[in-house]
């Protein structure tokens, strides 16, 4: 898993910087950022989804391991989404002229960051372990569902600076040529695997810590 993720990400960096890209107005060469920015958001959503699944599992049978996993996935998801927002800001500076604009998708990104920061501050405010785990699992589920509504439904109803809007907020047909797909999909898988690898390490550290505590 680690080897594959490193290979895929390296490939996406090399390929992303060297392969042919379609020449579009305004975007020009900055379209290469698609390989990094968009893939990071994909993997962030995927990691948050894993965190949600573990939260549901925890509520079902209350094994501590699921809580540890859920928190670890949320941590890596947050880390990758911060990376995603930074790359997005660089891209926005070169194409739209500013680092931040009032755009439904940027709001969605900011809100999902805030939601998961709130999740961690909720976790920090408990003394008792059992209540903390259960309550944070509940908040995790609530937050994820509403976040999906926010970034999945609301942008479809408005115009956005992002491509493919007023209908489809996902990425779009016109600027993703075949040569770009060759890099794009491996990059998505690479980032997801990278996230899972990081999470795996976090989970192990936390397991050792909780064993020490007991």
């Amino acid at each position: 898993m680690k080897v594959l993720s490193v290979i895929l990400i390296l490939y996406s960096i090399v390929g992303g910087l060297l392969f042919d890209v379609p020449k579009l107005d305004i975007l020009n060469e900055s379209i290469r950022n698609l390989y990094f920015h968009v893939t990071m958001w994909f993997s962030m959503i995927f990691l948050m989804f894993l965190s949600l699944i573990n939260a549901i599992k925890f509520l079902k049978n209350e094994y501590e391991i699921f809580d540890i996993k859920s928190e670890a996935y949320a941590t890596t998801g947050l880390f990758i989404s911060i990376l995603g927002i930074l790359t997005g800001m660089v891209w926005a500076k070169f194409t739209w002229g500013t680092y931040w604009v009032n755009d439904p998708k940027l709001n969605g990104a900011a809100i999902s960051l805030l939601i998961y920061f709130a999740y961690f501050s909720l976790r920090a405010s408990f003394n008792e372990n059992m209540t903390k785990q259960r309550v944070s699992a509940i908040y995790n589920i609530l937050a994820f569902v509403l976040m999906i509504i926010f970034i999945g439904v609301l942008p479809r109803m408005t115009d956005s600076l992002h491509p493919g809007n007023g209908g489809n907020p996902g990425f779009n047909k016109y600027d993703l040529s075949d040569s770009m797909k060759l890099v794009f999909y491996p990059a998505v898988i690479g980032w997801i695997l990278f996230g899972c690898w990081l999470t795996d390490i976090l989970i192990r550290i936390k397991k050792i810590k909780s064993n020490d505590a007991n």
């Binding site: 709001n107 309550v135 509940i138 908040y139 509403l146």
Partner: protein, 218 residues
């Protein structure tokens, strides 16, 4: 179960009308905030600011109003309640009660705003529907979050931190709905925004219904 929900609801209403201090506090909160905006803006604001201030005041006062809704049910008399009622009937009655309170808050806020700044709305009916629907979804989200935050150590601070990012989609949607209400006077109430509010209501109420029992477990 319906009987129990009705009983709990009547109990809440009776408690609040017998001792209306908390209702007065909520009303005072709304009036004070809109007066602050009146003073700060010298009584002249354009339509967009009207909408924004209107909903922001509603959001913050509803966070304050619902903060203590589970004080009895989850803290002081928790055991007693769970002996008598199922947690599902507790949450449903709370959601209904809180939506009534929030509808009252919205109406009071509308009166204050009309008094201070005038009323730019042309499509009153759609706006009313928006107020009712938004109160229900606000009430269901905030009830669950107040349950969460009352279990933690620093509740009141956490309540706004937890609820504000979640309420964001609702706020944006409501602002868009009110812009529609200011611009056109059409009979068609089934706009995208109303559909979105209905969807949000279904999702939030079912989430409350599913998740609250886990919160009560001890």
């Amino acid at each position: 179960m319906l009987k129990k929900i009705k009983f709990l609801l009547l109990k809440d209403i009776k408690k609040n009308f017998d001792n209306p201090t908390s209702l007065f506090t909520i009303a005072l909160n709304v009036i004070c905030s809109s007066y602050i905006i009146y003073v700060a803006s010298f009584g002249i604001i354009d339509n967009n600011s009207w909408i924004t201030f209107f909903w922001i005041i509603i959001f913050f006062s509803s966070i304050n109003a619902t903060y203590l809704s589970f004080e009895n049910e989850l803290k002081t008399q928790a055991l007693f309640y769970h002996f008598l009622f199922s947690s599902k009937s507790i949450i449903l009655s709370k959601v209904i009660f809180n939506s009534l309170i929030l509808i009252l808050i919205s109406i009071l806020n509308l009166i204050c705003f009309t008094f201070f700044f005038g009323n730019p709305l042309v499509n009153n009916f759609v706006f009313g529907v928006g107020i009712v629907l938004s109160s229900i979804s606000l009430a269901s989200i905030l009830s669950l979050i107040s349950g969460i935050s009352i279990k933690s150590n620093n509740g009141s601070m956490l309540m706004s931190v937890l609820s504000l990012p979640i309420l964001f989609p609702l706020l944006l949607n409501l602002i868009k709905l009110s812009e529609f209400c200011i611009q056109e006077k059409s009979e068609n109430i089934l706009t995208n925004e109303i559909y979105f509010l209905l969807l949000l209501n279904v999702v939030t109420i079912s989430l409350c219904y599913i998740l609250f029992p886990y919160l009560c477990k001890n």
